[in-house]
Symmetry: C2
Subunit: 264 residues, 2 copies
């Protein structure tokens, strides 16, 4: 059985207009900016990441439309995650990195990014001690209201902000974590070097969410949806050691989440 190739009725059959050409013009003229987007998208296929894309003004005159229309076309390409726009600088070809999460690989942002061919960076925003809330105690298998480290970090890839994470770790088990982190902002590395702990994934849950304003500011984006990963990591002995919430820009990273093969 085939797909039937449903006959689509002609669109607005203009008043006795000339046959096909007229129909084509009518159809197209009401979606001019989408046509432009299609045309530009196909041209962009062969353009290297980071290249400059013509300006709104240039496109307006090339396609013979007003600037708002040319702008709409570029915004459409931005929604499709194909380009990246910066006020005062221009529009540029964008490429996303494939960030693969798998139970088989260690839970390090930097490691995962390097694997994807990116140059990772970490910036420590804050380290603080506070009492854990109920959910955090449950996830880390701690007594109620235990003291925990709260670590706030921003991650970059190829110089661009890509993610924001808040991690919560048990305080007693990790004395001097604040000092350890100021010299070595990679949490996985700090845990290994300072405490001999090799972290592994325990739980991971990912979804798509519109970030709160505060976090959107850290990510230097508007509040369009981003990845939200909620994770718990453990030591090689099975003890939960870190609970994290990570927001990741969907226009920079294409998260690809792989499920472990079940042993049959």
């Amino acid at each position: 059985m085939t797909v039937t190739a449903r006959q689509v009725p002609i669109h607005p059959p203009g008043p006795s207009g000339s046959p096909s050409a007229a129909n084509l013009l009518v159809m197209t003229s009401s979606h001019r900016y989408l046509e432009m987007a299609e045309e530009l998208e196909s041209e962009l296929q062969h353009v290297p990441v980071g290249s400059r894309v013509p300006s709104e003004h240039a496109l307006a005159s090339r396609f013979g439309v007003s600037r708002p229309t040319a702008r709409a076309a570029l915004q459409e390409l931005e929604r499709r995650l194909l380009v990246h726009r910066v006020q005062g600088r221009g529009t540029f070809r964008r490429g996303r990195l494939d960030y693969v999460i798998s139970p088989a690989w260690p839970p390090s942002f930097s490691e995962t990014l390097r694997r994807a061919g990116g140059v990772p960076g970490v910036r420590l925003i804050s380290v603080a001690v506070r009492r854990a809330v109920e959910q955090e105690c449950r996830q880390l298998a701690l007594p109620a209201a235990s003291a925990v480290w709260s670590v706030e970090r921003v991650f970059t890839v190829n110089g661009e902000v890509a993610a924001y994470a808040t991690s919560v770790l048990p305080y007693r088990a990790l004395p001097g974590l604040d000092v350890a982190l100021t010299g070595e902002p990679s949490l996985a590395t700090a845990l290994r070097r300072r405490y001999g702990i090799a972290v592994q994934r325990l739980r991971y849950r990912i979804s798509l969410a519109s970030p709160p304003q505060v976090i959107a500011d850290h990510l230097t984006v508007d509040r369009t949806p981003t990845w939200l990963a909620e994770s718990v990591n453990r030591t090689s002995h099975g003890t939960p050691i870190e609970s994290a919430r990570t927001y990741m820009r969907a226009d920079v990273l294409n998260i690809s989440f792989e499920m472990e093969e079940r042993t049959p």
Copy 2:
């Protein structure tokens, strides 16, 4: 909820404005549509899903802005997945369903949706037999160029199109699948009733992608990014039985992907 309320500042703050007040106006007036979006977002928190949201025209007069500006505010809310707009009908509050994928649960779209509190529907688009490409043979553990069923389906939730899937299954193992599916569009149910096969997840990979135009048409959306799930299911004996590619609307479903707990 009444309209107006909020005293809206006078618009064009003419030259020689008053000092600090003027500064405030300048700051705000350059992000008027975002201010509107913030205000509307907070109002929308308490609005039930499906409710009508004021029209562009109404908002323009309420906030004292032009229609394009009011429109920009509503589009911002749409990007944040808070509202849903239909030409000729209006703007409505949107709610996403939490679609949870976990190795522990059976790989049935309908089942998963019911679990999330939605009313699922399936529409069969096509069933066909063809030769498998190399990758499909590998995933299904079949000899090269084996015959396979290719099944195309569209899924709805609460009457709205939510997903589009193409499944590939071995032909020899499933005689008469086309007939079985015309009466029972749920693949999991058909496999169980007709062949006594209980499918389970084997592999699952999820990411975010801009769908091809053909699939965007099936989903009745523009080409904004959607979820793309690539999955392989197996029988209870471990034999791969289905390989699928599923596009799911991110504005309808919030996919939440859970990793199995590793046995320590």
